[in-house]
Symmetry: none
Subunit: 223 residues, 4 copies
DNA sequence: CATGAATGAGGTTTCATTCAT
DNA sequence: TATGAATGAAACCTCATTCAT
């Protein structure tokens, strides 16, 4: 089993380390996601972080560790938000919850378009254990959708074979808004994109009334 | 309007230029898509092409021009194949044609997984006019699906609001097989992935019988 | 004449300065002699000294001053020990005293192998006045042997042209045990090395009986 | 068993590689041995070699590889010379041969004083396999003296217990001229140093006449 | 047309030392 | 007195591209 990917620091003041790393991640995210990892050099990074190279290397051991932190921070923060939103919608009807959650998810990728592409680009080049950690956050996001879909199936509201795959499709179509903005922007605004994808998804997974009733009865009789 | 992205050569023997460029593109595709553009250096490129640096620079003006050629060659070749297949299926029923075309398209991305991610990664960094040329090929692929969907709608077989968006979704879910192989491979084989996505797509867009008849009539009465 | 090499401090409490400097020298000797001067950084030094960089720089003005102190401390301590031992052996027969003194000297270099090589390596790079100070201690060690040899000559026990050179050879062959351990360890243990070198030395410098008597007479008649 | 220490090159023209490496080694030896390995930077090295950094790194993979080449070149060249001289003296009497060989050996270290110290300093920091290769050359030099001493013993001319140790002492006292020049130069010129060490060595190892004759007879009777 | 040696700017990272706290 | 975060010059090495052969 591979060890956790660790980030070097020369400081032992945990609060300070956390603060400085946050600062560095926040500042470098912009330039990294805009220009790409390899095309951004440390000189530039240091400039946007408004610190000296030496200071930066007190809190990170390498450029790659910063890369990891940027992607990991974005992805795990996203996963956390999704889980929070899902909790808030735990009592809403699956349909309403799904619409809302998709909207939130798609909004995140609208707000962080560069990050979405950046994560696709650079996760590949991370060391195994670092990549695994990113994938874990990704999995949490997929799980949020999958659980909601499963709730809908159990309630008879949705009629889906493979909720895992549908969860995956929802996520991919959200990413697509960021990954393929050049094509999409020509034809749809963000609002219409979300609306249309949400509608299409609901149409595809909503059980028709007969089926819904049948499903519900089947569930209940099997208790 | 921006000028076309041109590729420098010192040779005037067009046939030779074409042959050498093909050779270079073919040889360097593998190493570029595997290791990434920035992480592949010219020394390695020259080695896999089995030529000297000087020769390579006779037929290409820069590393970036090779990058462009690789992506452009792959994308336009893909667009060409899609158009050919669509022509072959021009008389088939839209449903059958769609299933077949999706399978072909997904197979392409299964066979060229690295290329799919590579194109997403690197197209961004190309100069405007080069990027535009890639996008044009992408647009041809989308058009193939859109036209087929439109044919289905016109024939009353499909019931779709926005065939452009559906075409886009089909394409994105094909790309996903390559982009997200780490997640997908855990749960589905290529065959089941294609089957499930195709089925889901058909379920979502196929008009139920009543609707189909109604659609057809409406279409015809509006002529 | 060049000024003495001085070591900066920001403190005026002499006892504290002495204590702290001793501590630093003692702690850093190990890591310096093991890894080399240039390959040991201040971070590591500060860690083994269990103090902050700031504190360390209160008692030393630079890394080089620590280097000097380490070598000087070792060499002058060695010189002191040799002088003490020589005094203890002042009444022993020259032969016995020499055997004993060589053993002590060789033992020192067996116990401080890294230091011996380190002093050879780094003394060269010290500023002139610092180097001179090290050389003075070295000279004291040579003097101990030279005086003992001279006593033996005067007593007619040794038959030597140039006791200064013999003293030098004794010292060098002691250093060799530390400098050339990789070669020597293959063929000899420390014990046999000392025994053999001592025997060889005695054989080379001991006057045969006739010569011894003649020498003694010559000396006395020349008074 | 450890692999050989290899030196990277990007060229496949062996003759050119050899020539350039020779040039680099020759030029950088001076500056390296004068200032030390760590205190000499690549900028300076490149300047004295009159080439660009890129060119230098075509023929060596790292600064350390140059270090190795410098030491290895000097040591193996020295070993070669010693073997050649020993061959030329193969028919001379052991006493004459030893005197001559010592003179040659000491002259080498007089001519290459910086190198001698440099080799002692830096061999320690080389990787294992590189260090081993240096030690092998060292061993060849020791073997030259040991074989000569053994010839002298077999011919009854020398009376030595352990020729390996004597060989070692001869070598160390030669090195000492370079390592300890600051002390030695105060008291002896090179000529007198060689003369005195040679004389002392002969006195120590030459069998007295009775012993010599006895040795010879014993040898012959045992045939 | 083909070669591959040469370039040198620019890449990432380290380091001894200082000084505000 | 003691701390350790901050500095920024300078370290080693790589690279796309050229041009003499």
């Amino acid at each position: 089993m591979s060890e956790e990917f660790t980030i070097r620091t020369f400081s032992s003041d945990e609060a300070l380390v956390k603060e400085r790393r946050n600062h560095i991640v926040r500042c470098s995210t912009k330039v990294f996601t805009k220009k790409g990892y390899d095309r951004t050099n440390m000189r530039e990074l240091v400039k946007v972080c408004e610190m000296s190279a030496g200071t930066l290397y007190h809190y990170f051991g390498s450029k790659e560790e910063i890369l990891y932190s940027i992607i990991n921070s974005a992805t795990s923060q996203q996963a956390g938000s999704m889980e929070d939103w899902a909790n808030e919608l735990a009592t809403a009807s699956p349909t309403i919850a799904l619409v809302e959650l998709m909207r939130k998810f798609y909004e995140w990728h609208d707000d962080n378009q560069n990050m979405t592409l950046f994560a696709y680009q650079e996760t590949k080049n991370l060391p195994d254990n670092a990549r695994q950690s990113i994938f874990d956050s990704e999995a949490r996001i997929l799980a949020v959708f999958e659980q909601l879909l499963t709730r809908g199936i159990e309630g008879g509201e949705f009629n889906i074979d493979d909720p895992k795959l549908i969860a995956h499709d929802i996520v991919v179509l959200g990413h697509a808004w960021a990954l393929r903005r050049w094509h999409l922007r020509k034809h749809w605004t963000f609002k219409t994109y979300v609306k249309k994808q949400t509608d299409a998804m609901l149409r595809a997974i909503t059980a028709d009334k007969n089926t819904a009733v049948a499903n519900k009865q089947r569930k209940e009789s099997s208790k």
